[in-house]
Symmetry: C2
Subunit: 404 residues, 2 copies
């Protein structure tokens, strides 16, 4: 029946009861005749607890030693889960990154996977063992432990699925799939049976928490069939793949992000090279800029607005203030009370009226649009944070109907 | 100033405060000009907590997965300690067993060290890094994690000291050295400035908790200079080496053990081969026998008594009962209310009167001796457990004087 990779997050393995439940899911898959590779995160709050221990001793510890510390969390999960499968009489073995041969670059805390040496895992699969792999971790060229950063275990799972040509990579989580909008905001949001890599990527990078975009990028690159499903309820999840059967609309969903700020540089001189100067300065300060908007000049001056993560707010402000004379602006406006609402769907921009329908929905609800950005498969608008949830709801209702 | 190996136990690294204190000791050693390899145990109760987690899921988990689980404890300690040294501005790196290349045999939970591949540790020492190594763990020929069993971190430290020809291997613990008897039993017990490997081995295997005998055996074999000292108080400890300056007596100390039982097979036929039959049966059931005593026969019968660990009591009883006809005895007596008091000292048996002085002390105190066993450097007596502490005290007073 081929090979299935199953990934379970921290909530799914938080305690003995949950681990037993996960072991039952794995056992069912194995008994149905599949080879199984399992990827696990650290239990519940383990990673946070370890970070707290580190901070108590040295808040400026090296990233290398942090990775040495944090990687223990996943090792505990895999050993315990292997024990639960042993109890069920099944052949199983747990492996950490150096045993898997999961090689990364040298960026501690946020490493990128380079290669997986397949010998050990393949040998265990050939012995019909269930292979339980520690997610989130790798080994670099120095022979040191690295971790993969946020969403790292999802990425480990997809990388293993790609390396071993798995038939399916199941991401078990505490939600049961990908929704057309956050069901906590839009009660009428419905679960998608399928979504394309491209739409999933846009949704993930525009604020949907269900999958980290690095794992989706990797899945897209290596054509890994993914499925997002619940470890708690036994219901079908959402399949993520290259081509899907179209649903009644070509809109994948609505996402919200609100952890960023809007900057406006007001009264810039209207001459060539100003935008280049601004954004090269921000780039050198490692400020990731998202939406950029440049207004048409009035009487020889123009304004440039952009958004950046809240975590970069002070870095952006100080570099811009420091180079005020070189840039040549009148003043800076900063607004951190903003949210971005994104409508995502393959080929959306080639369909007439999608953008105007979205704007109409917002206009009817009296919600002011501050900025607009579009891509081939996405329209994003910046609104006041207080209007954000209402904006998600009215945009969702416009395209998916209010099914309440 | 050469190379010093420093080992700190679980109590010494139990929390952030203790780890900072340990980091200060290491920093002082390094700043005095030595290369330093540090070996750490898991923090406080970590190992017990992990075992409890395992038991909750599967009390019969494989030893392989238990080792995978338990080895995380030391990894946490070394990362945290490295962070504490980073905070002190010192160059430091933590390494786990697979990075050290500490190779063992395949006996999970109780592995024996085979070899240490020195490349990585030597490279770090050459870079003037303080090297912090996870104790208690190794890697076997399958590329799996093993643990070294009780006292494993002491053994890791001595093995590293031997491999790198360290000038000294310091075992930091919560007592400040090796005493002539347990100070909690004998208040007048005094700390030994020096002790030979041979005496330390006898004391360790006869119940002194301060060092595990495997580490002493290894130190003796490779002529590693050891020192047992306190991580809490800055006072001289006890040096363990090949030859020591003799103190006023040649007696090393008095030790007590009480976790075993005495068996007596009464009414055996007095013919050749009976003892062989009894002890080969026990050996096949993995019962470790300590003292053996065979009484002179009365009217064609004889008695055989022996001691074994409490943990083997039921195994010994059942194998003896099962083969009652083949062995041919009248009945079995078992007494688990016994204790063994041992007097240890190099060349003791060549000194006239040591044994008789010991027996006299016990006789004067009205303590009955059930069995006697002697070796070149040890006299052990079996007494009623209720008399044990009093026996340690009167024997100690006889040889070291009551200094209270």
């Amino acid at each position: 029946m081929g090979l299935i990779v199953q990934k379970f997050g921290g909530t799914s393995v938080a305690n003995a009861e949950r681990i037993n439940h996960v072991a039952d899911i794995i056992a069912d898959t194995y008994k149905a005749g599949s080879n199984v590779i399992v990827v696990l995160s650290a239990q519940g709050d383990t990673t946070d607890d370890l970070i707290e221990k580190a901070n108590e001793i040295n808040p400026h510890a090296s990233r290398r030693e942090l990775d040495m510390l944090l990687s223990t969390g996943e090792q505990i999960s895999i050993a315990l889960c292997a024990m639960a499968l042993e109890k069920r009489g099944l052949p199983v073995i747990s492996l950490v990154a150096w045993q898997v041969g999961l090689q990364t670059n040298n960026t501690y805390n946020d490493a990128r996977i380079r290669k997986i040496s397949k010998e050990r895992v393949q040998a265990e699969l050939d012995k019909k063992n269930i292979v339980i792999v520690a997610g989130f971790q790798g080994v670099n060229a120095y022979g040191d432990v690295t971790t993969l950063g946020r969403g790292g275990s999802d990425t480990s799972a997809v990388a293993l699925a790609a390396a071993f040509h798995a038939d399916l990579c199941q991401i078990y989580t505490d939600v049961d799939g990908v929704y057309t909008a956050d069901p906590r905001i839009v009660p009428s949001a419905h679960k998608l049976a399928e979504i394309t890599y491209a739409d999933m990527l846009e949704l993930a990078s525009q604020g949907a928490q269900v999958l980290h975009n690095r794992s989706v990028e990797l899945a897209k690159k290596y054509h890994v069939n993914m499925e997002v499903l619940s470890s708690l309820e036994h219901v079908p999840g959402t399949k993520v793949k290259e081509v899907i059967k179209m649903e009644k609309t070509n809109i994948g969903g609505v996402a919200k992000m609100d952890n960023f700020a809007r900057f406006s540089l007001v009264g810039l001189e209207d001459r060539p090279g100003v935008a280049f100067k601004v954004f090269s300065l921000l780039s050198r300060s490692s400020v990731n800029v998202d939406i950029i908007l440049q207004s048409v000049g009035r009487s020889g001056s123009k304004d440039i607005s952009f958004t950046c993560p809240l975590s970069s707010l002070e870095a952006a402000r100080s570099v811009l203030q420091e180079h005020r004379d070189a840039i040549g602006y009148d003043h800076i406006e900063v607004d951190d009370n903003v949210a971005k609402i994104s409508l995502v769907g393959a080929g959306m921009m080639t369909h007439v009226g999608v953008a105007s329908d979205m704007f109409e929905a917002l206009y009817d609800a009296g919600i002011n649009i501050q900025m607009i950005a579009t891509s081939e498969i996405r329209i994003s608008v910046l609104v006041n944070k207080d209007d954000a949830n209402r904006a998600v709801k009215v945009v969702h209702d416009k395209f998916f109907g209010d099914e309440d």
